[in-house]
């Protein structure tokens, strides 16, 4: 079973040289720490930076330089700042090639819910609806089950949706799962996790191929 850094390590393998990538808040942010040296990737944060670097050294943080999670960051050589309309032109116009974001629920038809629990948590969708509606390649990073131990991979989402039929791949603490033809397809399992474990933690229809390789981390 993977921890959050393990999930980020596996998702980093989805990133290709030359891509512009938007990383959401939480586990997705960790993906940046696992990109191999020498690979040319630029991280976009929707509040208005392309070429986002690591956190600043202690003492050199700048209140005017943050990411979409409101964390202080740095800008790498070649970075650029822009306004929010330009930022979402990059996203909506499909200039950002890969989006990694978290989710509360994902359905076997690729729907995603991650912005609201009616009557309980109302934080808002931020940029998530724009991101999932337009990105060609969306990878969801999440735990396979919620705190109550219930599956987050469902036949259909019970929470208000963020987007419909948009998620193609999910990486969890247990598995890599693709979504196509209205079903979850098991692609890889996490180290030490059995197909049976994944099956019992997946509420939606799960297609299991004859051989399911372990992740190569």
């Amino acid at each position: 079973m993977l921890d959050k850094n393990g999930i980020a390590t596996r998702i980093a393998q989805e990133v290709q040289d030359g891509q512009y990538v938007n990383l959401g808040i939480g586990i997705p942010t960790l993906v940046a720490n696992h990109i191999p040296n020498g690979m040319n990737v630029e991280f976009q944060s929707e509040n208005g930076i392309l070429g986002m670097g690591p956190f600043p050294f202690e003492g050199s943080e700048d209140a005017d330089l943050i990411n979409a999670g409101k964390q202080t960051i740095t800008a790498l050589p070649g970075a650029v700042y822009f306004d929010s309309a330009t930022s979402f032109a990059m996203i909506r116009g499909r200039h950002v090639q890969l989006t990694v974001l978290g989710a509360m629920e994902v359905s076997s038809t690729g729907d995603i819910a991650n912005w609201k629990i009616p009557g309980k948590m109302v934080k808002g969708m931020g940029g998530a609806m724009d991101l999932v509606a337009s990105a060609d390649n969306i990878v969801v990073a999440m735990m396979h089950t919620n705190r109550a131990g219930e599956s987050k991979l469902l036949p259909q989402c019970s929470l208000p949706l963020t987007g419909v039929a948009c998620v193609k791949r999910v990486v969890t603490n247990l598995a890599v799962i693709d979504i196509k033809d209205g079903a979850f397809h098991l692609v890889e399992r996490a180290p030490g996790v059995s197909v049976e474990d994944i099956k019992s933690a997946t509420a939606g229809k799960l297609i299991i191929p004859d051989s399911v390789p372990e992740m190569n981390l």
Binding site: S45, E46, N47, G48, I49, P54, F55, P56, F57, E58, G59, E61, D62, A63, D64, L65, I66, N67, A68, G69, K70, Q71, T72, I73, A75, Y81, F82, D83, S84, A85, S87, F88, I91, R92, D111, G119, V122, K123, G124, M125, G126, G127, A128, M129, D130, A133, S134, P160, L161, T162, G163, V164, A165
Partner: protein, 235 residues
């Protein structure tokens, strides 16, 4: 000679604000917010206002200051997760809230300032956001019709500005400020540094002064950091 937008200070800059008006306020989180204008709105005590802003500040800073005094009737935002008082007022029904996707919020402000009444976007199709909105397919993909936003006042914050109202923003403090500057009937710009005409390179101005009606030199910027994340200095 340039048309002067310069006013003496925040009191003059905010003259004419009234109860029930719609305000736009630039900023992302606490980054690039018009701190001086927000304090003046608190001092003036205007009530029943609608605020269009990406976020709602934190409990005791930014728009949270206006929420404390129950001055806001309605918020139009994309993300409000950092403010307990906001959540309390919303769940109790005291505060009306319209949550909209961030890119749609930015584009609705831009459209409002650019004379475009509405546009189609894929964001939000199939979700609560699309309820009651026209849906139309383009290239086989469904889009929803989103209308433009304008405001009685837009309050923006820039790094540097001149008497003509030209503005330059710093780093990610730019965010919603340029679009909101375009969409205010009266746009008030507060700047950290007011520079003499001719100082700003015309090649590098982010917001042309035509979008700004009043500009003043702000002071006492607190510039709070919401999430201070750092690397240790050793080695």
């Amino acid at each position: 000679m340039a048309i002067s937008k310069l006013v003496s200070g925040v009191e003059t800059a905010c003259m004419g604000v009234e109860d029930g008006m719609t305000f736009m306020l630039g900023g992302f989180g606490l980054c690039g917010i018009p701190e001086n204008c927000i304090e003046e709105l608190v001092r003036l005590g205007v009530k029943d206002v609608t605020c269009i802003s990406n976020n709602a500040g934190v409990d005791n800073f930014g728009l949270g200051r206006l929420l404390q005094g129950h001055q806001i009737r309605k918020m139009i935002s994309s993300y409000v997760g950092e403010n307990d008082e906001f959540e309390r007022q919303m769940l109790s029904g005291e505060l009306e809230v319209d949550l909209i996707p961030q890119g749609s919020l930015a584009e609705r402000c831009r459209a409002g300032g650019a004379g475009i009444p509405a546009f189609y976007t894929p964001a939000g199709f199939g979700t609560e956001v699309a309820e009651g909105k026209e849906v139309r397919d383009f290239d086989g993909k469904p889009h929803i019709l989103e209308s433009a936003l304008t405001s009685d006042f837009a309050f923006v914050k820039a790094w540097r500005g001149d008497e003509a109202g030209n503005l330059v923003f710093k780093a990610t403090a730019r965010n919603f400020n340029p679009m909101m500057a375009m969409a205010g009937k009266i746009t008030v710009a507060e700047v950290e540094e007011l520079v003499p005409l001719g100082t700003l390179d015309p090649n590098e101005i982010h917001t042309p002064g035509i979008f700004v009606q009043r500009i003043f030199q702000g002071d006492s910027y607190e510039k709070r950091i919401e999430q201070r994340t750092v690397r240790p200095l050793n080695n």
